[in-house]
Amino acid sequence: MPSWRRLGLVLAIVLSGTVIGAAASLNLTSSTLGANRLATPRCTAANLSVLQNLSGSNVASVTVSGLPAACGGGTLQAAVNNGTANSTGSAAVPAGGGSVIVTLAATVPVSEAAETDIVVVGP
């Protein structure tokens, strides 16, 4: 077989091997992602207290307490939804954890049932 023909075959084989290796690689560094599941990180073990702070008959802010030190340095995001109105806010979690008051961008009228979603992002 002429050398240039061998060279072409070798090149094709080498590239094929590289492709197979690259296609199979996945760089997953998180240990908390599961199928159809949200992340279950360290903060979820805490019994967080989430209380609404009123201004008149409106929710103006949310106090979240019981934050573990592991959440310190993160950003706590809160969203309040009473079914007809909603608002969000965020605040930094102190280094040692503890309590955070999240002031909402706009007040939300008190209602019989309101949902507050809390997410700690980071640190």
Partner: protein, 239 residues
Amino acid sequence: MIGRRVAAAALLVGVLIGAGFVTGRAASISLTSQTLTPYRTCTLTATPAAATVQIDTTARQGSATTNFGTLTTLTVSSASAANQRTYLRFDLTRCSPAIPATAIIRLATLRLFVSALPAVCRTVDLFRSTATWTEAGLTWNNQPFGAAINNPATASRTGTFDVGTPVGCQNRTANAYVVGGTVTTDVAAFVAGSSTNFGWMLRDDAEGSATARTTTFSAKNLGTAAQGPQLVITYVAFP
């Protein structure tokens, strides 16, 4: 000539596979965040006065056949032949979105606004009601736990808090929400379906005091948003 064509074809295959290599790289996933914490809280508030999310009333031993479901206050009292108990129930199905039966309840807190305190520190016990009752029909005589005082026994309480003006008492200040009304276990049972939600009964830990010891809370019928009874449930929907 044929050899050159074969070589050219081999090179073309190599180029195409190389392109596949690039595509494969683009599809690779890199996830590095692991600190996302999803929490959800349902806050049920008995407001306005016409709210249907909650019912409450007081059973009075001294008026054993009278219903007090329309009063603007709720009372827990220990007094000789004049004990008083508070009943209240929240409709958990009003939470939106609904709390999944599989949710892990992290914390459930019953919050009552205290408008008057006893002069001594008293322990208020919370008992999970074992039978249905109505706001307009409950009396001392027909209450789920019966008319006998100090029944059920303290050992079966599912929550408790202290209230009174003396130093060291857990709740010493009037015109504030009580702290300590934790009912996490009860709410978890309601959500999971292992227990029916008939609400709670609150009574003094030692009924029958020679000197009346009374704690007064704001009722739904007061219609004041900042004083309405609340049930705050924090949970994780997808543990």
